[in-house]
């Protein structure tokens, strides 16, 4: 067999290095305005770790190694930020203002509002603080390393690892019940 094209680039199963917790120097790849599933305005911020970071190009490397044809930018390298407060639609959300402030401080600039709003972020630096976030996936609780908030790029090196963000409810698998798929033809063996 001839060596298939791209053989050297494919990651070996299990050969995965998670992004380190704490502060990272990031570069913004793109910002998009869109609506959430509940039709609330939000921005989607895609980022990569910067060249001067301890794990440079982390998300673009992950992206490159993803061999699925319809691949998307890694979920951990993306942050969805509601622009308005979820409780009060007339108030700007704290996370959105934190993002804009971190962008302004990191690049010593002022955000430009209007039609070209999203274009100004591309290639600009920003800091990101990563922590553990518990998420439920297919009925299992997984711990992921995710960006918890953006910060001034100059404060990355002094950023502490945030407290883990845990799910409040107990995992389904821990409640002693077994999920039986609906419409199963076989008899349940107990």
């Amino acid at each position: 067999m001839q060596k298939p094209n791209g053989y050297d680039e494919v990651q070996v199963g299990g050969d995965y290095t998670p992004i380190e917790l704490g502060g990272h120097h990031l570069v913004i790849k793109g910002v998009k305005e869109q609506e959430s599933k509940t039709e609330k305005p939000m921005v989607v911020v895609a980022f990569d770790t910067a060249k001067n970071d301890k794990q440079p190009g982390y998300f673009s490397d992950q992206f490159d190694k993803d061999i699925r044809p319809e691949k998307k930018w890694p979920a951990n390298g993306t942050m969805y930020i509601l622009t308005m407060d979820s409780q009060d639609a007339n108030k700007v959300s704290k996370s959105f203002k934190s993002f804009i402030t971190a962008f302004e401080h990191s690049n010593n600039c002022e955000a430009i509002w209007g039609e070209k709003f999203c274009d100004q972020f591309k290639g600009k630096k920003i800091g990101g603080v990563f922590g553990i976030v518990e998420e439920e996936y297919n009925g299992e609780v997984k711990k992921r390393h995710k960006v918890r908030w953006f910060c001034d790029d100059n404060r990355v090196d002094s950023a502490n690892v945030p407290e883990p963000k845990l799910l409040n409810k107990a995992p389904k698998s821990a409640d002693a019940f077994v999920n039986v798929p609906e419409g199963i033809d076989e008899e349940v063996p107990f």
Partner: protein
Amino acid sequence: MTIQCDTREHKQEWERIKSQFDSLGVDYYRSKLWVGDYMNIDNPRVIVDRKKDLLELCGNVTQQHERFTRELVRAQEKGIKLIILCEHGEDISKLADVYWWHNPRFDVMEWAVKDGKPCKVQKYPQATSGEALYKSLCTIRDKYGIDFHFCDKQSTGYVITQLLGA
């Protein structure tokens, strides 16, 4: 190292790269190449094809798709490793960056009449997006064994010598 440079390179671009070769002390001569633009005469199995920016590469992949593909097939059939070097600069330093490229053709506007009123509309709303170009380049990489490298215009000469095995 002696580099054979294709004669069809644009004059202005060639002058720039030639001066970079001169400052690096690289020997070169100009003669037509069968595929690509730059070849180390000691290793004719590796050839660099230079593209001035992503817009040129995008044009090759879309409008001149057949001609471009013919060149890739020709290289593959002869066992030549073709490296496409795109001197786009700015924030494009690896293939994944192409995904985030904003095609400037999307910004070209023209006047149109909508509901009886003149207004500006995109002239090329169907232009190739960065995401679409990225997917096409990945397909080309995997199908024809092409490597994509990126640099800025100040370092093209140096990068060519590195890619050709200096």
